[in-house]
Symmetry: D2
């Protein structure tokens, strides 16, 4: 089987990472690299790591045509952009995995409160977190690939929240991200002299991944959950470490929590429940989400730590995992490269 795929938003980091990973996928042919920037440039001019590996030129997208001539389109454009053209691609016949936030929210009003006015709110997508929605992804034509922070945070809390084992009022998610999460456009926040030996918190009560996390935790809990999410920027390039502080309704031991997690994630190809705590350098370059947990002496406070590569499980790797599901092939295909350490 060969899936013919195209990438819209080929110049960005998620786009580049899609190419990196798709090049190793035995059942994929990359047939198009589209962007409104860098049109006419060979792809390796923009992503020099790919020199000699791929021979495409960045082209300005004509969406209906792309939809007609490909099986699947990854849209890796900034928030508020894909919603303008995804309907056209779908009309052309291709399936779509959108890596932006445009289709992540069940309620368009939530999207509009945190982002911009939605231009295709009628389109319904499946939220592309395979560990929670595998079956629905299999049948989807449009998948909304989760945000990087929500991937790490939701996976780290899903078992406890679904089983209603923690106090839903006091879920604190204190996350730390590398700078590649800020994207390819330079700015003061990622200017090395200011961030290279620095750490900052940002959008501490208002980050747009907060409502996305809340949506997913609420679905798991079966009722409205409002978690408390605070992100930080740290001077690494790749990786997110998400530290969830929660309070058990009834005292739990670490072994009980781990047992629950191992059961919940049994058979998952990309979730590793560890005996000790994850670190970013256990997972960099791979599609793994590593999870570990500690309990305090009373079994009251639980700290659940998860680690992902924001560009892989937090973006392009998860998108490919979704693609594999949508096309009925081995979910891990093309994603088996081990993490790099050191």
């Amino acid at each position: 089987m060969t899936i013919e795929v195209a990438v819209v938003g080929a110049s960005g980091y998620a786009g580049g990472e899609l190419f990196r990973l798709l090049l190793g996928h035995p059942e994929v042919e990359i047939v198009g690299a589209y962007d409104i920037k860098n049109v006419g440039l060979p792809l390796p001019k923009v992503h020099p790591n790919l020199r000699g590996l791929i021979d495409l030129t960045i082209t300005e997208p004509r969406y209906e045509e792309i939809g007609e001539k490909t099986d699947l389109v990854f849209t890796a454009t900034p928030h508020g952009v894909a919603m303008k053209f995804v309907p056209k691609i779908l009309d052309g016949g291709a399936k779509v995995i959108d890596l932006s936030a445009d289709y992540r929210f069940d309620d368009p009003a939530t999207y509009e409160r945190y982002y911009v006015k939605h231009e295709s709110p009628h389109l319904k997508a499946i939220y592309g977190l395979p560990e929670l929605y595998r079956e629905r992804i299999r049948g989807a034509r449009l998948v909304a690939n989760p945000g990087c922070y929500p991937t790490a945070a939701v996976l780290s809390l899903a078992p406890l929240v679904r089983e209603d084992l923690v106090d839903m009022e006091y879920i604190i998610i204190d996350a730390k991200s590398g700078t590649s999460g800020a994207g390819a456009a330079p700015g003061e926040v990622t200017h090395h002299p200011l961030c290279g030996a620095n750490i900052r918190a940002y959008a501490v009560t208002t980050h747009r991944h907060g409502p996305e996390i809340d949506q997913e935790l609420s679905k798991l809990a079966g009722r409205k959950v409002r978690a408390h999410f605070t992100p930080h920027l740290i001077p690494i390039v790749r990786g997110i470490l998400s530290t969830a502080h929660v309070f058990a309704r009834e005292p739990m031991s670490k072994e009980e929590v781990l047992q629950l997690y191992r059961e919940f994630y049994r058979g998952e190809p990309f979730v590793r429940v560890l005996d000790d705590l994850p670190q970013v350098n256990f997972i960099v370059g791979s599609n793994y989400c590593d999870i570990g947990v500690e309990c305090d002496a009373e079994g009251k406070r639980l700290v659940v730590v998860s680690a992902i590569d924001n560009l892989v499980k937090g973006a392009s790797g998860q998108a490919i995992q979704n693609m594999n599901l949508m096309f009925g092939i081995d979910e891990a295909k093309g994603l088996k490269g081990p993490p790099l350490r050191p």
Copy 2:
């Protein structure tokens, strides 16, 4: 006035930082550099930044003698060491500021639970956080210099806790430290290939600075407070960012919280209450503790972020601030060097 000071534990990072700062102090003469390591080496062999600036040789300490011939001794030895010899120094007549944990706990039993058996539990020290205990430090002969994390965490929460404005059950302190906090001894945790592009949480419910924070918050609250402290190691050399997640008993606006903090810290030479959030690179190299706050839309969750240089306000700078108080001179003397940025 000239204060004759000596440093025991001259080889470590806190020791080196004491020399760096004391060299610029107009009323201090450094008369001794003691250690059991590197004996006989010129100080700049151990701290090459000090070449040409100081002419001392590291000497093996004879404590009574040191106590007799100096006005003040900084003891910057590992935990469990100073308690063996501080009584001797005090007997000699000098005052002591201990930078280890040995005298930080009001209750020796707490110390012994988290560290080792105490060998001079009868000695009572003043906890050297000038913003809380200025007057008592002025009269002290033995000051226990606070831990780095407790300095950042306690200063970030003191106003809210003393005024009983937040739910004491749900105080989460998620802190991030640079690697110099781990000290001068190499080990796997600070081995660059493993930590240079990594972040990890460690001792997430059991770190020894937890009970120290609890002791101080409890004194501020006037009742037992148990906060929830989790540290992380990030790939910067200097600096701690401490993010406190707390829940207001009654809704508060950011402006109300800032007002409270500005009032609480009015006139403090080394606490800066900011309109926005602090970053590590606002304070590196200086004795400042910067504090900022955000509230969520409901005024329910407050996030208080503080930033210090762990080697300055978190160790040696604060020790000098304490010295200034103990000798009745301008509290900021020798500590006025601005932070470095970028």
Copy 3:
């Protein structure tokens, strides 16, 4: 075809990288992980990135037996160790690729001057730089895998030196390496507080990779060449950038030099001659050696820059490339994963 391989020195970084890469090699079965450290530990305890991917336990090596039951043994032990047991492995029947310096020198006396007394100087190995010795590697039973710096430096100079186009008296190689090159054992040089915001030169005229570079340049030149090699340590984990400063005998244009290099490396699977200069982040995680060149206005001074991942093309990846040659399979097999960027 299945090549049964074992790794001696399984705990180190080169060992870990061998496992990372071999796991993706379709014609390899890893049958043994040997070390004198960490005996009895599951491999993923030592290399946590490999959790869930490999099920071996570290075993104490019995060399004859290993030689009998495997097709190929990678020896990734410190310098001066492999020479003690490689003869035994060869006696058992297996081929050997040694990643240490033990068999890199044609003249054991050179080895002994820079390392230690050789214990198996009679054994002759092929120097495992496929771009220069491909045919001989194909027939080899013992391959000496090149050093990381020599790989970058020799590949960057081979065309100019073989064609005798530069002044051999004034070849300066100023190289910069990430910290993983220092290996897995913590020490002061790689202690993050001291190296994380630092750069240092080391062994500036005496580094042991100097004579290795000289040996290879001399063979290329057909006469004794003494280059001038100086390494630096920089605060990145992976990667070497090697900057060669040379002087053309006759003025050359950049285009002429590039032409020469493109010709020399035509068809090479892992050398990319770039139009512009390489950067470390074009090649991290991959087996590529990227090379670029600039000439000054007079065409007199040439600067040739090369970049490799010290753990891949500088160690384990090149070893696998050699393995592929020794077993007659596609030289690039298992090594096709693109570099990571960002």
Copy 4:
């Protein structure tokens, strides 16, 4: 004595560093902070490290007026800007230290070849390297503050070149700089995802600091010298390490070279000749230039390594050193803060 100073170009990194250092200078009053950007902003909004330390607002410059009301103006504007207004400031009566390249070249034609057309080529400045031109700086009204790379490179080579001890044809200067050298304007080169785990060479034969180095080495040699300068960008914020590779005319021992350097720099307040090699973290935050040297076994190749903080000795610290000379006060005043390490 109080010198009233102003800074034009207050928003940049050199400007910020001037304020940081001048705040600790006992004989300086900062009377103006000028820029065409950020006009109307309090200085600490732009340099948050300075909050609480300085109370100036950034003002649009009126040059004649500034010249009339201040004793000295530091101009820290981009290249090609100061030349437009320095004559006006001088006309007003103030002395000027220009931190840009505009007045560094004895021959305006050289400037114009590497920068832009000069608009005040008639103005003659003294090149502000105190170790070479101390007496002339004392009497100067306009000082051209040296570039960061030239400061490190020229100081590292001056003794050997003035004494004509090395082959002037083969002077290679391979320098490595932190990212703050690129200035405060974000761009792709300093975008953390691309530079945070990277090293690159740039402008390898064409960097504009090359002719500046050549000018100074030529004056030292008493004849035209053309050195070969190649810079690199490394992922640290502050610091330059400059590695000079030179060839002795007659064999020299390390001790002979050190002897020469110690003699040459005897009494210099900011040059430290070390027994071993300098590292960036010996000097960060200070005005020191540390220099060390190694010779190969034959005494033929010499490697001279120097380290400076590019923002201090490479820019603002050196400017203040020049100011001290111009106003007849202790050359080291305000510059005595020791380097930070770790």
